[in-house]
């Protein structure tokens, strides 16, 4: 199966794996500790500090590596939450139908009438800024999109013969959701997973950049852009490095997701 991976997907897979590797083994591959001041402020790149130092004189490369860990972990957990929540609710709405579906769908419509970033800012103005809060807020707000998709997919599956057969056999609704609908809805959901993950990374980075996400001294890419942004005016490009890392991560996950999407639609005879 690895014979026909297109070049773009291969690049995406390699880049994504590199970031994941950085995130998992951060303490072992980072040359310096995450928050230790080891040099002058905004030192240029040298043999001692490969990417230079940041606004407080911490090694930028080490912070990038630890930042990968924070950014990827939070984004992954938020995506996992949004999928669990969104898919469960979406399937429930499709299987139960009637007023349950109506109430849930109108509620989600209402939530989606407010731009995600704005609602997140409103909620974060009263909640304590901890990593748990961030994951919860991001996961819950993003689950609206997953809800829409999984409900649409499940409504289609719900009328198929094998679901009808299961009903006649006397299976409960829980069985139908998890044993009949879930396995058949998996492939469109997996294709969406990559896109939701990118959204989570961009969303988290935006929040951290605005100073409302991950709090210092913890390193995360969006926050590092914020820390180093004042250097830009003096021609110090330190802030561009974490920003570029976010872009590269998003592009490479996109490339992989695109490939998976094409593959799954091929399998189904080209249905988009």
């Amino acid at each position: 199966m690895f014979k026909r991976i297109p070049l773009s997907a291969l690049i995406g897979i390699i880049a994504t794996s590199t970031f994941v590797f950085m995130a998992v083994f951060a303490p072992w591959i980072a040359p310096y500790p995450m928050a230790e001041i080891v040099g002058g402020t905004w030192e240029p790149s040298s043999a001692k500090f490969l990417l230079g130092t940041d606004n407080l004189g911490r090694d930028l490369l080490s912070r990038m590596i630890f930042g990968a860990r924070t950014t990827l972990t939070i984004a992954a957990l938020a995506t996992a939450l949004s999928f669990t929540l969104g898919a469960t609710l979406g399937f429930t709405a499709a299987v139960f139908g009637g007023w349950v579906d109506q109430v849930m769908s109108r509620g989600i419509d209402l939530l989606m009438a407010i731009p995600t970033l704005i609602f997140a800012l409103v909620v974060l103005s009263v909640l304590p800024t901890t990593i748990t809060t961030l994951i919860l807020v991001m996961g819950v707000l993003d689950s609206t999109r997953v809800y829409r998709l999984s409900r649409a997919v499940a409504v289609d599956i719900n009328v198929m013969d094998f679901v009808e057969a299961a009903r006649l056999r006397g299976e409960g609704r829980i069985w139908i959701i998890f044993r009949e609908i879930l396995p058949n809805a998996l492939s469109p959901l997996v294709a969406e997973l990559g896109l939701r993950f990118i959204f989570a990374v961009l969303f988290l980075s935006a929040l951290s950049f605005l100073g409302l996400g991950v709090q210092p001294p913890e390193a995360d890419w969006g926050g590092m852009v914020k820390e180093n942004k004042d250097g830009i005016i003096f021609g110090i490009p330190a802030a561009l490095i974490p920003a570029a890392a976010i872009a590269v991560l998003a592009i490479s996950v996109n490339l992989v997701a695109d490939w998976i999407l094409n593959r799954t639609t091929d399998l189904k005879g080209g249905r988009g």
Binding site: L110, L111, A113, I114, P115, L117, I118, F119, L121, V122, V123, L124, S125, V126, L127, P128, I198, L202, S205, A206, F209, L210, G211, L212, G222, V225, K229, I232, I233, F234, G235, P237, A239, L240, A243, A244, I246, A247, A250, I251, N254, D258
Partner: protein, 319 residues
Amino acid sequence: MGSGLWTLIIQRLLMGLGLLLAVSVLIFAGTQILPGDVAASILGQSATPEALANLRSDLGLDQPAWKRYFSWLGGLLQGDLGTALSNGKDISASLGKRLGNTLFLAFWAALMSVPLAILLGLLAVRYRGRWPDKLISGITLTSISLPEFFIGYLLIYFIAVKTQWLPSVSTVYEGMAFADRLKAIALPAITLTMVVLAHMMRMTRAAILNVMQSAYVETAELKGLSAFEVIRKHAFPNVIAPIVNVVMLNLAFLVVGVVVVEVIFVYPGMGQYLVDHVAKRDVPVVQACGLVFAGVYILLNMVADIVALLSNPRLRHPK
């Protein structure tokens, strides 16, 4: 234009109003979800009991939530948004000025991005499957993945710092000459354009392609109409609705994108105002800003809906 159309349009307007009302409840509720006490979370651990009690009565926390909601809503309807906790200033006055600035920026960004997106979309359709199409969709895929601040700081780094063509910080003040003002918002407007351009272009391309592949366009071609006539008489009327829809959806997107872009360029608009006061936990300001942003968003979506109704008679008779 029968009376049926007017009924539908009025229906949409009422739906929009209802949605706005529901959203105001949601935004209000969003600031009440803390299990503890907003006052305690604003003042932090070291607050004295007196300060807490003071803030509670300032916020009206000694009253039930529904009462506070209705007094907030009543104030809103009269244009009174209350006073900011952090500096005691009148919110309506500061908000009005900043909303003007934000709309000014968004207007110029829209003026650049909309024609450009439609033009590029048309180009992509015209040269479909050939290199211009591939190049355009490649750039689109990339720029969707770029965070706003990457584009913004890249522009600042190369256009403002290295070459000094444009200012890096967008300072605007009252009584500023129009030309200076335009120069000040040039970089943020370009950033915003690049943020929404990709989405808008991709959706325009899909919309045009959808129409161009339809049976009636093929018939028109087969009966010998010139390419121009096919587009003028058959394709264009059908393509207005989806394009207007795309544009409105992306303008809504642009209004939100403005938050991050304003912070990048330190532009004195609504977004900057909102973010500053979220950090200060100034709940009344956050509620007001949140509602204005959501209101603009809902308004643009509603306009998209109504324009679609006007330009496509088929939507007026739901099955």
